[in-house]
Structures are given as C-alpha cells and as structure tokens.
Subunit: 221 residues, 2 copies
Amino acid sequence: MFHKVLIAEDHESSNVSVRKTLEDAGIALCDYTYYCDDALQRAQKAFLTHEPYELLITDLSFEEDHRKQNIQNGVDLIAEIRKIQPHIKVLVFSVESKVSIIHQLFQDLDIDAYVRKARRDVEELKKALEALSKGNKYMPFALKQAVKTQNTYEFSEYDIILLTQLSQGMLQKDIPYYLEKNGYKPAGLSSVEKRLNLMRETLGCSKNEQLIAFCKDLGII
Amino acid sequence: MFHKVLIAEDHESSNVSVRKTLEDAGIALCDYTYYCDDALQRAQKAFLTHEPYELLITDLSFEEDHRKQNIQNGVDLIAEIRKIQPHIKVLVFSVESKVSIIHQLFQDLDIDAYVRKARRDVEELKKALEALSKGNKYMPFALKQAVKTQNTYEFSEYDIILLTQLSQGMLQKDIPYYLEKNGYKPAGLSSVEKRLNLMRETLGCSKNEQLIAFCKDLGII
DNA sequence: TTCTTCTTTACGGTTTCCCGTAAAAACAGC
DNA sequence: GCTGTTTTTACGGGAAACCGTAAAGAAGAA
C-alpha cells in the first residue's frame, strides 16, 4: 500500500471523504489541498526533499474564487506535476461521466485510475487504491457502462463556434462575416447552413432551438 | 441542536462527509440512505412510531441504477415526506448553483437551508445546522444578494410550455394546435408570437436560440 | 501540366418566422 | 341592455432560415 499521498480537491466534503478513506486503508501520511497551485507547490517541495508523493488524487474541475490560481483544473495540474515527477501515480476523482473525456485522460495523460463521484464511490476508491498498490491500473465502469444516449457526434471547434454565436443571438446570416473576421474557415453562409444541418440531422434535432437545448444539456456551450 | 436526522444522498463520499459533520456537531442519532424511496420509508416508520426525524438533509439529483425508484429526485422526496410530516426541517445539499432554482426551493417547498457542494461546504454545513437549531433559515450569501437583483420577469406555466416545446423541436406554427389539444389558452399563433416576443424583449434576447440558451442556464427548462 | 475528387460558395425557390395593424371576442362597470 | 377596456385572433408584408442544385475553388495524384 502507499505511504505518502497528495490530495487536490476543492470540495471540502469530498476532500474529507477521500482522507477518511485513505486513513481507513492504513495510509498515514496524506496531505491535502483545496487549490491546484498549493498541490503543485507541495509536490515540488516533497520531491526536492527526496520524500516525494507516491500517489496524487485529484479532481478535474476546480472552482474559481478570490484566490487567483495559475493552474485551474486537474488536467493541467497532472501535467505540471508530471513534469517534475514523471512517474507519480495519478488517480482522478471526478463527477465527469463522459467516456470520451475519461478515455482521453488514460490516453493522453496516462493516468492510473479513474473513480467517478457516484453512489458507490468510496467503495470504488478503496478498490482503486488496492489495484494501484499492486501496480495495476483501475478503469472501472468506464467502458462497461457506456454512457447514455447516442452522443457519438464529435463536436469540432468550428461547431462550437457556430453554436455559441447562435446561442448569443447572432443571426445566421451574419455568421459568415464573423467567421471571416476571426479567420475561421469555411466562412460561407452555405457552409454554415450545411454544418448546422448536419448537426441537427445527426442528433435528431428538427430545429436550432432544439439543438441549442441539447448542447446546453451536454455542457458543450 | 438536533437529536434525530435523516440523510438522503446517493454519493457515498458526500454521504460519509455529512455523517461525519453531524457527528462532530454532537448529533448521535443520524440515519442515512442512498435512495429516495428508502428515505421516505424511514421517515414514515419513524413518524408512525412517534420518533420522527427533526431534520432531513437531502441531495437534489439522484442517479438511476438497477434499483427502480418511485421517487427520483430530492424535490419529490421533500414533497412526499412533508405530506406525512409537514413541519420537518429540510436542508438541501447539492451542487446546484443556479440562483433561480435554489430560490424556488425556498419559495415553493419552503426548505429551511441550502448548502452548495463547494470549497467550504463542510464549514457551511456546520453553520447551517447552527442556524437551523436556533430556528433560523440558512441561505447562501449569493442568494440573498441575488433575490433583489434577479430578473423581474416571472415565467408563467404558459411560458415554460412554449419554451419546452420549442426546445423539443416543435415548429412555432404548430404550437397553436398543441396548445388547443391540451387545453391551454390562449392558443392563437399570434398569442404565441407575442408571448415569445415579450420574453425576448424583457430578457434582451434577439433570437429564440438565445432565449433557449438563457433559460437552460437558468434551469427553467 | 491535366484530371479527379472533395470542399466551399453562390443562387433560387419555398417555408417559417417576425412584426405591425386591425378585427373579433371576452370582460368589466354602469 | 350599452360602452369602454383588455385580451385574443386573423391577416399580410417583409426578413430570415431552410434546402436543393450547380458552379467555383482547392487539393492530390498521375
């Protein structure tokens, strides 16, 4: 089992639970922070004093408040800590449920475990710790419970620009001008129409209003 | 301070933290459930044996899983428990941050406290318990401020029907038929147009897409 | 280069939406 | 009953969106 663990989690209630879980698992030395910058600082210090953390447990989203932060989310935090300590194990603990996003964490950041904040999350945390301490990865429900809906459509940056502008009240016919001014291509009205049509078609939306509502629900815009 | 508290919270980690917070506050008798139906059942039983709960702490959203539930969210749970025990105090503990939704909880369900899952949530829980035990309500600071500055526009049931239908892809011109079929008045297309126009005007939206996005953000639809 | 293929744009017809005006209906008070 | 007010509906012109098709352009391969 691990000896020295670092927790980065802004929600106090989650932070407490993670700590308690580690305690129950017999991990005595566990430090915690509510901000990414603090976490990085602690990791740096621990590494320099030759007492590095073996495991980082972090959330993905951190809320902004009065304290200005350089690092504002878990992904960046992981990247920064890995720069100074490439082989630290990482467990991500978050509410995120989109398979594609979780998959990216394993693929791009090479994280070691993902536990979703959900009904049995403490139980899962324990299992994940178990697996990690044995040198295994832990990616539980990720591929099993394929998240609901046929959200197979991949929204491009271009799509999101269109949706954002629409949702901010820009007329469709004015979007070409906006696109051109900001250097996005294609900029023709027909292209805009075609793209919107494709999105509606793919997602089974008959009108733009429905499309906007759908994307709002997905948190894309 | 309270003597008997019931917790309904599906996330195990949050559930644990709330329990620990109550414990620290010296509340010995605290039961917890991960499902709404279980919570209702316990409340019923406690009430019938003349040992009712004094306080309900509940989340708003409960995730579905293999266990089919009659009650699927905190709002319904509160309503059901209040049917049998109208004066039970209620503290809602949720990630919801939309002012309009929280405001509705106080207004329509007459809840006694709201604590948002966030950076200092355990601290806030303690304060809320303190306030409640003294017979006070506990509102997040942001809400008190926002109550005044909140957009004065009151969404009627009729408005929400229009917005909902639009967001589900119904053509504007088909809405009169729908309204008439379901007995809503007025049902004329002009009335629909006028109402939508008023909403856009009042909320500073130039297009329906923007209106839908706005209302999605507010959590109205 | 030329040819092919794919992407982007331009254009026209149709539908839907937007908005103003006016008629019709509902409602209140007398 | 009548009269004035408000709400609802009907209608019509113009703008925007929608949709199909065809032309223009870009990219790649021979």
